[in-house]
């Protein structure tokens, strides 16, 4: 398994850990840029929330490397369909949503690609990208993803479904029912749990009696892996393998547990100082995926400090433009309130 932190600094050569996974230097830079963009957007959204302009934010800070790595692997393998969870802003950038798309989704403007201001951020369906996220009831989407994967199999399509959820969502009965069904029918699906060890304020030890959620997978009849979500190369490797397994003749589902951190409160309405100690938060910040990735790139000569500064500056400019443009976007027309209650 590729391990970022255990690799010694080496010269620029074909034996670099990411080269071993056939990831080029320029692809690594692209992934880094997306992570920086995701972080920058997230920070801007916090500021807009505090200004009263964005009603709600579910921060992605802490899972950028896992989300970007996961999306990269899926895009490389191709033919994937996503039932994504609410924190995956980085995945959405990887799938082609622009900073403006991200902004209007948070404002609830009419231009929202997923729901035109009907739901919380990113909920709904964006066929172009293609992602469905349909609910705030965590766990329910695992059933939808499983049904979708069953549909793909029934129609003889090659599509692999990736469904992501949090450790909190894994406690719902529907999550169990979905994984049980997917195992029985060997469906082309990858279950991805972003385990940040907190369901709002409830710690993992009160959510489950096991250390690794992936340990549940054998009970459903398929493999599960617990992976350090800060190790983007490990994320890429395991996601690729899971997609290939889903597609293979005697394959089927895989459960991937990405161990990530939640650097911010559950949402912008939450205050995590009520249930996390300063010491805990300090430990969590030391696992911030951005500095970890940046160090790797610097150590391996993939990026220089100057290039990094350039990326940061470009990202800031993009976010400024998107913020300004989102402000000018129109709100949904009140006369559309009762549109689309029923399908024609």
């Amino acid at each position: 398994m590729a391990q970022l932190k255990e690799r010694p600094a080496t010269s620029h050569s074909a034996s670099l850990p990411h080269h071993d996974l056939s990831v080029s230097d320029s692809q690594m830079l692209e992934l880094y840029s997306k992570m920086v963009l995701a972080r920058g957007l997230d920070e801007r959204l916090w500021a807009l929330n505090r200004q009263g302009k964005v009603p709600l934010l579910a921060s992605c800070q802490g899972l950028e490397s896992a989300s970007v790595g996961n999306a990269f692997a899926a895009l490389q393998e191709g033919g994937c369909f996503f039932f994504s969870y609410y924190r995956e802003l980085p995945l959405r950038l990887m799938l082609g949503l622009s900073p403006l798309d991200i902004m209007v989704a948070h404002y609830g403007k009419a231009a929202d690609a997923f729901n035109a201001g009907r739901q919380f951020l990113f909920q709904g369906y964006s066929p172009k990208h293609p992602i469905i996220i349909n609910s705030n009831v965590v766990g329910s989407s695992l059933c939808h993803a499983t049904g979708y994967a069953l549909g793909c199999k029934t129609l003889g399509e090659d599509t692999v479904v990736l469904v992501s959820f949090g450790d909190g969502g894994s406690s719902e009965g529907e999550a169990h029912e979905a994984m049980n069904f997917a195992g029985i029918h060997k469906l082309p699906i990858v279950f991805i749990c972003y385990n940040n060890k907190l369901a709002i304020s409830v710690p993992q030890r009160k959510q489950m009696a096991i250390d690794n959620l992936a340990d549940r997978a054998p009970g459903y009849g398929f493999p599960g892996y617990s992976i350090d979500g800060m190790d983007i190369l490990s994320v890429i490797k395991h996601t690729r393998e899971a997609i290939q397994r889903a597609r293979s003749k005697d394959g089927g589902p895989t459960l991937l547990e990405f161990k990530v951190e939640r650097l911010k409160p559950h949402t912008s309405d939450d205050d995590d100082r009520k249930y996390r100690t300063p010491e805990e938060l300090d430990l969590v910040r030391r696992r911030d995926p951005l500095p970890i990735f940046r160090s790797y790139l610097l150590e391996h000569g993939v990026i220089t400090d100057e290039q990094d500064r350039l990326i940061q500056a470009q990202v800031k400019e993009k976010i400024d433009q998107a913020t300004e443009a989102a402000e000018k976007e129109p709100w949904p027309d009140p006369s559309t309130l009762l549109n689309h209650v029923y399908s024609p």
């Binding site: 997923f114 729901n115 035109a116 009907r118 739901q119 909920q123 709904g124 369906y125 964006s126 066929p127 469905i132 349909n134 609910s135 009831v137 329910s140 695992l142 059933c143 939808h144 993803a145 499983t146 049904g147 979708y148 994967a149 069953l150 549909g151 793909c152 029934t154 129609l155 009965g173 529907e174 029912e177 979905a178 049980n180 069904f181 029985i184 549109n339 689309h340 209650v341 029923y342 399908s343 024609p344």
Partner: protein, 327 residues
């Protein structure tokens, strides 16, 4: 035309739709080799195979939720919940998810699924095999809710439901399955969703009902005719959307209204029918609108005496009609 039972008509509707459209599939507990506990899918797995006739684990949330996912993919699942009392675990998927997906995606997602649910009492099923759940469903925009009473309606409405692009909850009163027989044409025909049916013409009282109670209502109306009271019996057939035009036309014609359903009277579909009439046909009324139905018990009790006390029957409905006629 041949006389068939309600369950035969339902089976025939699904069989014809599955033969005509390869996207139609059925799933649920026991629907395969067993053919469903009421035999609605008997022989299907032999004809259509395991890919289109899926015996699921006993887990209603996933039966409904997987159907939502299949529908997102463009398939047309027919999910079977074995008894209405077992649909509670599926509530989140039906009320919380299926009903909202089209609206919540601003029209980008559609959920063309049917959930077939046997409901109702009169079979000594006790608290967990007898409930009428339509009131809970009726309250949910985004769902369509159907309750056929006759074999003819059951076949035509189920075919329409399978072809509909929305989540349709198809409620089948289990006592009608074999007790009610009627003429059913061979081959294809559709009864449009949202259209009530005047099952008996009358001029003195309008009696609105559906499901098993509709048959009891017809029997009561026949008795009242012998006593010189002309009762019009309107079978609502579709509860959501309700056929307001037919309801109002009948109420305006007779001026007296009785609504009879097996489900709890309080908060039931009858309350909405009464409100529609009160709002738009008030000037035509000659008596207060009267409702009759399930008492305020949390379910139907098991013992025969208690079940009879809960259920409607032609005697109870006749008594209510006489009272209204005398007003």
């Amino acid at each position: 035309m041949a006389a068939k039972s309600v369950i035969e008509a339902i089976r025939e509707a699904m069989l014809e739709e599955m033969r005509a459209d390869s996207r139609v599939m059925v799933l649920g507990e026991d629907v395969g080799k067993r053919g469903g506990v009421f035999l609605a899918t008997q022989g299907f797995i032999e004809e259509f195979g395991e890919a289109r006739v899926i015996d699921t684990p006993l887990a209603e949330a996933s039966i409904a939720g997987i159907s939502v996912g299949l529908a997102f993919k463009g398939l047309r699942p027919i999910a079977e919940i074995q008894f209405s009392d077992f649909w509670w675990p599926a509530c989140n998927q039906i009320i919380g998810e299926a009903s909202r997906a089209h609206y919540g995606s601003n029209g980008a997602l559609s959920v063309p699924m049917v959930v077939r649910i046997p409901y109702g009492g009169g079979v000594l099923g006790g608290l967990y095999h007898s409930q009428s759940i339509e009131g809970y469903l009726y309250n949910t925009p985004g769902l369509k809710v159907i309750t056929p009473a006759t074999p003819y309606d059951a076949k035509g409405l189920l075919k329409a439901s399978i072809r509909d692009n929305n989540p349709v909850i198809f409620l089948e009163h289990k006592k009608t399955y074999r007790a009610v027989r009627g003429e059913v044409p061979d081959g294809d025909y559709i009864i449009p969703i949202g259209v009530a049916d005047v099952k008996r013409q009358g001029s003195d009282i309008s009696l609105f009902s559906y499901g098993l109670t509709m048959h009891y209502s017809l029997e009561a109306a026949a008795r009242l005719e012998k006593e010189g009271v002309s009762v019009e019996v309107v079978d609502l057939r579709t509860l959501r959307p309700l056929d307001k035009d037919t309801i109002l036309a009948s109420a305006r014609k007779t001026g007296k209204v009785l609504i009879a359903h097996e489900a709890n009277v309080i908060g039931g579909v009858g309350a909405e029918v009464a409100a529609i009439i009160a709002a738009d046909a008030f000037e035509y009324l000659d008596a207060p609108i009267h409702r009759i139905g399930g008492p305020d018990a949390p379910g139907m009790a098991f013992a025969p005496t208690l079940e009879s006390a809960y259920m409607l029957n032609p005697d109870k409905i006749s008594a209510a009609l006489r009272e209204l006629a005398a007003y």
